[in-house]
């Protein structure tokens, strides 16, 4: 049996002045080397869970360990081992691709030839090596998504968190991103991924958890979960579990 990359026990988060918890008694385990899809409608608690696991906010109660290290007291060590690809293009538009990646690499302690090689290598993989000296503000949506992914994996993290990494991009860019995620996973990186694109999640993920109102309502291998609930695909399963009422 594979080791756990992430173990979450009874995680609870109540925001200041909020009447109900954003995450309530959440427990799950993500195996090392898996691609884990955290799925749910808007406001279900996905971003809160990711924010706690990335060390951005503290849980009200409960415990989470990443690669055996507790978030309560080893947050800096954990931050060195994880990579985050936020939904926003979290880069500086007036800086070039290279300048952005150099800054991010420096922040992870990378420098010199090692950093330059890593930047070059990753830019080649996402097809942006010829644009490395162009400012981000001149990039198309797909190019921005690809460089955003590189910024999250430059330091070769052991766990990668992705918050809707393919939202609003062209088909070719999406294909390249998902291919690259598979490649990273094969190299041993555990991936935790959120998306509203059910088809993409079904193809990409080795395990999923559907979360709603801060609680997990279904989890397991995608095919097994689909079969268990008697639906044809992940989208039908998602609608069956979370309903058709609009969530804004």
């Amino acid at each position: 049996m594979a080791n756990s990359a992430i173990e979450v026990k009874n995680l609870r988060k109540v925001y200041k002045d909020a009447a109900i918890p954003a995450v309530d008694n959440l427990s799950f385990c993500i195996e090392e080397g898996s691609i884990f899809g955290l799925l749910g409608p808007n406001g279900a608690g996905k971003t809160t869970t990711l924010s706690i696991l990335c060390g951005l906010i503290k849980a009200t109660s409960g415990e989470a360990t990443l690669l055996g290290l507790s978030l309560n007291n080893k947050v800096q060590e954990i931050k060195q081992m994880i990579g985050v690809v936020p939904q926003e293009i979290a880069l500086y538009p007036s800086l070039t691709a290279y300048e952005n990646l150099r800054y991010i690499g420096n922040m992870y302690g990378l420098s010199g030839k090692n950093l330059r090689n890593k930047i070059q290598e990753n830019l080649e993989i996402v097809g942006l090596s010829s644009h490395k000296n162009h400012r981000i503000e001149t990039f198309s949506g797909g190019m921005k998504r690809r460089i955003n992914l590189v910024a999250g994996i430059l330091h070769s993290p052991k766990i990668l968190f992705l918050d809707e990494p393919t939202v609003g991009v062209d088909v070719q860019s999406r294909n390249l991103i998902t291919e690259h995620l598979h490649l990273l996973n094969k190299q041993g990186c555990t991936i935790i991924y959120t998306s509203h694109l059910m088809e993409e999640a079904e193809n990409l993920c080795s395990a999923i958890a559907v979360i709603d109102h801060g609680e997990i309502i279904a989890s397991g291998e995608p095919k097994a979960v689909i079969k268990e609930h008697g639906t044809e695909n992940l989208e039908q399963l998602f609608l069956k579990l979370t309903g058709k009422t609009l969530r804004d």
């Binding site: 985050v84 800086l95 800054y103 302690g109 420098s111």
Partner: protein, 423 residues
Amino acid sequence: MLRLYSTIQKEILILLRDKGGLIIMFIMPMAMITLMALIQDAPFRDYQEMKIPLLLVNNDKGDLGSTIDSGLYDSKIFEITKLSVNRDEVKQKVKSGEFNIAIIIPENASDLLNSKVSHFVTKKLNEAGLSDSAEIDESKLSAELNLEILFSPDTKKSFKSSILSSLKQSTSKIETQTLLELFNKELKQSDNGGNEKMKDFVNFKEINTVETKEEELKLNSVQHNVPAWTIFGMFFIVISMSGSIIKERDEGSYTRILTMPGSYITVLIGKISAYLLICLIQCVLMLMVGLYILPQLGLPVLIIGNSILAICVVAVSAGLAATGYGILVGTIFKTHQQASTFGAVSVVILAALGGIWVPVFVMPEYLRMLSEFSPLFWGLSAFHKLFLNGGDLNSIMPHVFKLLTFCFINLGIAYFYNKNHHK
């Protein structure tokens, strides 16, 4: 150190590529200094060399009229016009604002004064049994000698009393001199003693408080505007800095930084260092304008005192106060528009209170009290201490302490605000 260096490098690159920001940070304050120094040159000269228009109607041919005339001339504060006009015309000229003050010395005023004093002396000597002169004419003693003074309606009370006091001093001197001469004459003392002019027993000597090899320092347009707009320009960095914080937050870079290892404080120190560097460059450029450009335009050269170290300390303190304020504004406000509007308006208000537009000493008392709370006033006062009063590092420490305290208070508020809003 790598994180710190990298953050400084990143911030400077972003600033250098923001052309609008560069104009706000460098070109505008330098243009302001040049323009304001040129505009305010004449008013500052007027203030320093101000002469009050005075109309003197001297109908007296004796000593009293000429002594008052020379006393007014010696005071060097009046631009004296002498005319022979009647009282109604004098009144009209003062009322119309042509003159602020008019003095009418009546005909035969000296004779009347001599007569009054002579009768007074004779009376006193008779009473003391030292003389047996003829009878005293009491009507001459009680005859009134009035010098008429007319003030324009807008004259301040304090100014009126200082003018009246000055004139009273002149007339008293003549009275005493006349009195002494007559006493001497009556007591049949030597002519030499009688003709001897009475000297003041107590004199006032003005001591210059600044010992400098340079010409006497005065608060002129350059000495005021260069440090004033330098401080203003440094504080205007609030707009760029708060904008950078908000942009970083909106674009998600702030969140990304928080997911990276290491303390955010290092990133913050990097940001402060980059903007502080910009402030210091601004300061150097603006002082250069005062030293080299303004003299080319016919204005006096900026005198910067003797302590370059103290100037650096003031510049760093003011820069830190400005960056601390920038971080607070960027933390509290949600949008760039809100932050830039609030930042600009608040700096303009603090500048007005701090004596950037007009020196604090010409403000009313209550505004002078409010000035004490403006960080721009602290910075400007520190520069004035160095540039005008020949101050050293010790003399500016109270202002430096206030500026640094202001910086830390702003950072503290920003820290707690941020903490409470990200729970």
